[in-house]
Structure formats: structure tokens, C-alpha cells
């Protein structure tokens, strides 16, 4: 037999004291801390631009930074307002965001995922930024997007083209305006069929990381759907420099098209070397040998020089478009910096304005309110025609440009020409598409910190 000192009253009293004790820190925290991560309290709000300022993509990063600075100036009512004048939403008034002056800090991603995460973390923890924008690599975008999700801030991705960013790695706090590899394939395939025929044999050289893999998968799927066959896909190391040992086997592979799933310096080098090996002078299977570069940028095109002439690719946007939004942005950017903006610059500029607009429409900086304002948001006047931020995966859906290297360029910026504007319906896919993580892919829940 044992004696017990427990009584009903004693248990209730002890429980109440313990409960109060446990709740105490939370009560204090709740009364003293912000409702969400880095809630702006003064007369200004700070956002972070995380771009490659050094390393192989730094030219793109610096162009993004130019556009981001321009966007901040326009948000604060400086300059001519750029695309704010053509944006279909009229919520922004040029008085900052919700009346708070916009300030920014910059970080250097160096195009390295770990460095980009550290830089974003520093901006969130030390500088108190409420949104992060920028980047020129899908590896970086996926890493920083994950960090922003954990930290409870919004990530407005810059140049990231991998399907994974809004596919299997999609996050509730992350949003992508840039198009993706699937869209490149869907837009390019019909143009390639028209130009080169339906009976072609393609050889892929693919950058060995997330972007290269998803682009190769997308281009292979879309070209095979129209009748092409794929001879081989060879993964090449990023930054290989000399691709000759990968190009030489193409010569006798039976392929009559080489698809270069390379970007930046790798694309410039592999394309140049493929031309040197005389691939475009060859006849295979009774047809002219052709080269395709599925993802173009103006800066890459300038680097590739005359080698790019007549080569097909795709872009998210190009400064030569004639719509009012593009013209307003090109004028603002061109007058300030003396050069036309790249499509990396464009996407960062638009993302910054879209974030500010969403905050204004939500009347809150709370990331979950901002996310809700962006989800399913339809807009126009930003250079891509009518555009939808799809709620299910936070991917923007808009027209895609098919480009071709200009045959007779007249000046240093005249490197690419627009061959076709592929309508959005042709590049739209289901949110649970197998290339985007299938049914298992999920945004998760929004994190406000």
C-alpha cells in the first residue's frame, strides 16, 4: 500500500503555476516583438538585392543591380517612373511602399549557393530586410528561396530558369517572374520544326547541375514530341573552358543538331568551339548541321560575337519589344546607364515593382498577406503582355520570345532578333506536371517568421 500526496486541488494549482511559468516568455515576446520577421517600424523599409557582383555571372548581376536601383528610385518617386506608368495596377504612387521610403542593401552571391545563403542571411538578420530579390543561377535561387522560407521573408527570384525553382523546390514564400526550361522547350520546338524539319537527330551537351538537367529534359521532351530523336545527352562540368573533347564525338555520332544546354561563359566557349570544329559547315543525314542554344541572354550573345548568327534560342524578354512597358523601361534604363537593359535586369526590376505593388494592395508588409496578394494576380504593362502569377506554384505565365542570332548586326547591342512571340497558352502546363515534381510538389505553408 502506498500513500499519495496528490489532491485534485493541488494538481490544478501546480498545473496553473507551471502553465503560467511556461507561458511567461511567450507573453513577453508577444507583447514586445514584431508580428512578422523584420516588420518595418520607422519611416523606411529595407529590401535586399542579392546578386552576383563577383564571379562568372557578375556582368549579369551588375545589370540586375542597375535595374534594382532604378526600381527603388521609381518607387520613391524619383526619375520618370519607368514601368510604373504602364503597369496595369495603379496602386503604387511613387511615395515609397505604404508611404515608407524604400532603402536597399546589396549582397554578393558570387554564384555560389552557400555564399548566396550566407549573404541573404546576413541581410535578413543584420540589415533587417523584408524581401530579397536577385540572383543569376538556379542553384542559388533554390538555396536562397529555401532560406527565405525558413526566415519568413519573401523571395522574389531573379534570373533562374530551372524547372525546379517553381517545381519540386517551390516554396510558399518564393515567387518567380522569369520563364523556365519547360517554357523554352514548348516555345522553341515548333519554331525548330519549321526551320529544320521534323526528322532531326539531336545531340545534347548539358551543364551538370539543376538548371542544365531540367533544360535538357524539357528540350528533349518537346523536340521528341514533334518527331526529333535524341542521339545522346552528355553532361559537361560547369566551367570546363575547353569543350573540344566533348564536341569531337558529335562529329561522327550521326546527329545533325547540337543542343547546347550551357549558359554564360560555358555557352560562349562551347558555341565558339563547335563553330571552330566546322559543325555548322557540315552536312549530316543529307541536312545542314545546326546548333541550338535554348536559353539566351544579351550579355552572352555579345560574348559569342558572330558565332551566334542564325542560332535559335529563347528569352524571357528583350529590349527590342515595342509595347509601352518595354519602351518606358528601356528609356529609363538607357538614359540612366547608356545601354539597353538585359532580360536579367528586366526581371529584377519587374519583381521589385510587383512586390511593392502587392504590399500596397495587401496594405501590409506581412509576407503571408503579400503572398496572398501575389497569388493569382493578373497584370499587364510590364513588357510581357498579359501575365498571371499562378497561385499553385508561384510561377509567372506570359508569352515567351523565340530569338535568333542576328545575321548582320549594326551595332554592339544589335545581337539578337525576335523571331516569334509564343503565346502564353502554348507554354502553360499543369502545376502538378511530372517535370515540376508531380503531385508531390507543394508550396507548403507561408511563413511570416
Amino acid at each position: 500500500m502506498s500513500n499519495s500526496n496528490f489532491t485534485r486541488r493541488g494538481v490544478i494549482k501546480t498545473g496553473a503555476v507551471a502553465g503560467a511559468g511556461l507561458a511567461l516568455p511567450t507573453i513577453f515576446t508577444a507583447s514586445s516583438a514584431a508580428a512578422f520577421t523584420n516588420e518595418p517600424t520607422g519611416g523606411s523599409v529595407k529590401i535586399g538585392f542579392n546578386v552576383p557582383q563577383t564571379g562568372p555571372y557578375s556582368e549579369e548581376g551588375l545589370d540586375e543591380l542597375r535595374a534594382q536601383e532604378l526600381a527603388v528610385a521609381h518607387l520613391n518617386g524619383e526619375g520618370d517612373g519607368g514601368m510604373m506608368n504602364t503597369f496595369s495596377s495603379k496602386a503604387l504612387q511613387g511615395n515609397g511602399i505604404l508611404g515608407k521610403k524604400v532603402e536597399f542593401v546589396t549582397g554578393d552571391t558570387q554564384t555560389k549557393s552557400d555564399v548566396a545563403r550566407a549573404s541573404a542571411q546576413s541581410m535578413i538578420q543584420k540589415d533587417g530586410v523584408i524581401m530579397i530579390n536577385g540572383g543569376s543561377s538556379s542553384g542559388v535561387a533554390v538555396a536562397v528561396q529555401g532560406l527565405c522560407q525558413e526566415a519568413g521573408v519573401i523571395f522574389m527570384a531573379g534570373l533562374t530558369h530551372s524547372n525546379d525553382t517553381t517545381g519540386k523546390d517551390r516554396k510558399a514564400n518564393g515567387f518567380r517572374h522569369f520563364f523556365n526550361a519547360y517554357m523554352s522547350g514548348a516555345a522553341l520546338a515548333p519554331v525548330l520544326k519549321n526551320a529544320y524539319g521534323a526528322d532531326r537527330r539531336a545531340y545534347h551537351l548539358t551543364a551538370d547541375y539543376t538548371w542544365g538537367w531540367t533544360q535538357q529534359e524539357s528540350i528533349q521532351a518537346s523536340t521528341e514530341a514533334m518527331g526529333w530523336s535524341t542521339v545522346k545527352d552528355v553532361r559537361t562540368p560547369v566551367g570546363a573552358g575547353d569543350f573540344s573533347s566533348y564536341i569531337a564525338p558529335v562529329l561522327n555520332s550521326g546527329a545533325d543538331v547540337l543542343v547546347l544546354n550551357h549558359y554564360g561563359a560555358d555557352m560562349v566557349n562551347s558555341l565558339t568551339q563547335a563553330i571552330q570544329f566546322g559543325l555548322r559547315d557540315k552536312q549530316v543525314n543529307g541536312k545542314n548541321f545546326e546548333i541550338v542554344v535554348p536559353l539566351y541572354s544579351e550579355l552572352m550573345a555579345a560574348g559569342a560575337g558572330s558565332n551566334i548568327e542564325g542560332v535559335y534560342g529563347s528569352m524571357n524578354w528583350n529590349w527590342q519589344l515595342q509595347d509601352a512597358g518595354t519602351q518606358a523601361f528601356v528609356k529609363s534604363f538607357g538614359e540612366k546607364y547608356g545601354r539597353p537593359p538585359s532580360n536579367a535586369a528586366h526581371t529584377c526590376y519587374v519583381q521589385t515593382l510587383l512586390y511593392a505593388d502587392a504590399v500596397t494592395r495587401a496594405n501590409s508588409f506581412n509576407p503571408c498577406a503579400v503572398a496572398e496578394a501575389l497569388e493569382g494576380f493578373e497584370f499587364d504593362g510590364m513588357g510581357n503582355g498579359s501575365t498571371l502569377y499562378r497561385a499553385e506554384d508561384h510561377q509567372c505565365f506570359k508569352d515567351v520570345l523565340v530569338m535568333k542570332g542576328k545575321e548582320n548586326p549594326t551595332n554592339q547591342y544589335d545581337t539578337l532578333e525576335i523571331v516569334e512571340t509564343t503565346p502564353v497558352a502554348q507554354v502553360t502546363y499543369e502545376a502538378n506536371h511530372p517535370m515540376f515534381g508531380g503531385d508531390e510538389a507543394s508550396l507548403g505553408t507561408c511563413n511570416a517568421g
Binding site: 573533347s245 557540315k282 560574348g303 528601356v330
Partner: protein, 343 residues
């Protein structure tokens, strides 16, 4: 068979670049005892000599063409190179077209000067310091140099095409009895191979058949004794540093049509070149050349689809695997002197 011949050809031009850089590295290590991690930067500076000459030759005067518009809708500013105005359209265009080979003339004095300044201004202070200090300081110098180049030229690769006469490919297959277009090889890569062979032969001839070279070789073998004979060996070794810089620079100039120059290209070659030196034997000039070609060809073979199917990723590690095997079984390298690296 055709694939094997193609990869041997590929390996030869890759190996040419490795051999030229490794030759310079070995010259510096053999004479001054310095492990120079800034040597890749010298290759990169050489490449940017080609870019610089190309830009100089393309310096233009501007005329306004009212019939064309720029991206802002203003009348187009048309640029016309001065060389065409001064020397006539054809000769001016030829000068621009041949800017890469012509850049050799620019690169030699530039690289000799860079080498001299580097050696006298910084590296000589580290002769008696441990190799770790030398590696740190020269590596730091390499980063500074590449950032300086990036500041002036940007981060993107810059096209420096070969002269029009060397565009296109040579059909080796036809020579060897294959069908046309089976084994083709770019003309410029053949030029590069021939160029590197000439440079390597010239360096060996200089060391072998001149009094200066004989003294340097004697100094490499026994620095103290040569000094006791009243010969200022330090002065000659400084000249060798300049020579090594010039060799790296010329290798960089001629490589630009193969690999569009960017500020990081030196670093990409540096690590591989050190492996080449270690495999060839530290301080052995013939070893550096032999292992440069050997590893270039091995790397090309490892990139063959058939090999990669058997050993995925082998193309990325083959050079380092060879280095590990050599260091384990023959620490002094293929042609290194007995005792070196074997303590």
C-alpha cells in the same frame, strides 16, 4: 579508330597549353625555387594583351547616321576604326583581322616587364621563406591581378577570333584514308600546336646552346658554386622569371581564339598546370613538357563517351588520379631528379 585519333588531336592542343604553362612554372621553380601560384595570372594577362591590341586597333571615330536609330530612337552613332582611315580599308581590316598573332609582338615586352616587376617588387622577398609563404603570397597576387583585369575588362568572356585565314577545319580523315568530314580539326588548333612546339624548342635551344643558358643550367644544378665563380646568378634568374612570364603570356595570347578570354582563365589552368609539373618532376623542363602532352591526351580520352559510360565522371578526375598514382609510386615525377620530393 576515328574517335581515338580525334581525341589524340584534342589532347595535343590542350597539352600544348599545359606544357607551355608548366614549362614556365618549372623554369621559375628550378631557378628561383619559388612555387609561383601567380603563373596562371601571367597566362591570363597574355590573353588580355590580345584583347587590348584588338581594342586598340578598333579605336574608332564616330559619325552620326541620321538614317539609322539607336536603341533610344536617337540617330545612330556609327563607329569607324582609325586604322582603316589611316592605312586604307583593306590593310586596316587585315590588321584588325590579324590582331591575335600581332598581339605576340605586344605581349613579349609587356610580359617581360610584368615578370620583372613581379619578381623584383614582390617575389624576391620570399626566396628564403617557406614554400607555404610563397604559395600564399603568389596566390594572393593572382587574385589581385585577376580582379584588376575584371575591373577594366568586365567579367564576361571577350571574343578574340583567329584570323579569317585560319577559320574552318582541316580534314585529317581524308589524309588517313577515312571518309570526308570524319576526322576534322580546326586550323587554329593546329597553329597553336605548331606554335607551342616552336616556343618549347626555342626555350630548350636557348638553355642548351647559349652561354647565358649554360650559366642558368649550371645555377639550377648548383647555385652556390656558380656564385663563387663570380657570376651574378641572381640577375640571370630574374631574367629567367621574365622569360617564363613571356612564355606564359605568349601561350595566353595564342589561346584566345580557342577560349574567349575572361579574368578567371588563369586560375582554371593553374591547378592543372601544377599537377602537370608534379607529374613531370619538379624542376625538370623535359618532364613538364612530356607530362603536359601526356595529361592533355589522357584528359581527352577520359572525355570519350565510351570511357565515361564505363567510369562516370572519370573526365573530371583523371589528371588527379594520375597525380596520386605518380606521387605514391614515383614521388620525384616522371623525369624528376633523384632525391627531389623523395625525402
Amino acid at each position: 579508330m576515328d574517335a581515338i585519333i580525334l581525341q589524340i588531336l584534342n589532347g595535343l592542343d590542350k597539352g600544348s597549353a599545359y606544357a607551355l604553362i608548366a614549362l614556365g612554372l618549372t623554369l621559375i621553380f628550378g631557378t628561383l625555387g619559388v612555387v609561383n601560384f601567380a603563373h596562371g595570372a601571367l597566362f591570363m594577362i597574355g590573353a588580355f594583351c590580345a584583347v587590348t591590341l584588338q581594342r586598340i586597333l578598333n579605336i574608332s571615330y564616330i559619325t552620326i547616321d541620321d538614317t539609322q536609330k539607336d536603341f533610344l530612337g536617337n540617330p545612330l552613332k556609327v563607329e569607324s576604326p582609325y586604322v582603316k582611315a589611316w592605312f586604307g580599308e583593306d590593310f586596316g581590316a587585315a590588321l584588325i583581322d590579324w590582331s591575335v598573332p600581332l598581339a605576340i609582338i605586344l605581349s613579349i615586352p609587356v610580359m617581360l616587364l610584368v615578370g620583372y616587376i613581379m619578381e623584383r617588387g614582390l617575389i624576391k622577398h620570399f626566396y628564403k621563406r617557406p614554400h607555404a609563404d610563397q604559395i600564399l603570397v603568389t596566390f594572393g597576387l593572382a587574385i589581385v591581378l585577376q580582379e584588376v583585369v575584371k575591373y577594366f575588362y568586365g567579367a564576361n568572356p571577350i571574343q578574340t577570333p583567329a584570323p579569317g585565314a585560319f577559320t574552318g577545319s582541316f580534314d585529317f580523315g581524308v589524309l588517313l584514308g577515312f571518309d570526308p568530314n570524319v576526322i576534322i580539326y580546326p586550323y587554329w588548333r593546329l597553329v597553336y600546336f605548331a606554335f607551342s612546339a616552336v616556343i618549347i624548342a626555342a626555350v630548350f635551344a636557348f638553355l642548351q646552346f647559349t652561354t647565358f643558358g649554360m650559366v642558368v643550367r649550371a645555377g639550377m644544378a648548383d647555385r652556390e658554386t656558380v656564385g663563387l665563380l663570380g657570376i651574378n646568378i641572381d640577375k640571370r634568374f630574374t631574367a629567367m622569371f621574365g622569360l617564363a612570364a613571356a612564355v606564359a603570356g605568349m601561350a595566353g595570347v595564342m589561346y584566345t581564339p580557342i577560349l574567349s578570354p575572361n579574368y578567371h582563365m588563369g586560375m582554371d589552368f593553374l591547378v592543372l598546370s601544377f599537377v602537370v609539373v608534379v607529374v613531370g618532376g619538379m624542376g625538370s623542363l623535359p618532364g613538364a613538357v612530356l607530362s603536359g602532352f601526356l595529361l592533355g591526351i589522357l584528359q581527352s580520352f577520359a572525355s570519350m563517351n565510351e570511357i565515361k559510360a564505363l567510369l562516370p565522371g572519370i573526365d573530371q578526375v583523371i589528371i588527379y588520379l594520375v597525380a596520386i598514382i605518380i606521387l605514391l609510386t614515383r614521388p620525384r615525377g616522371l623525369m624528376g631528379r633523384k632525391g627531389v620530393m623523395e625525402d
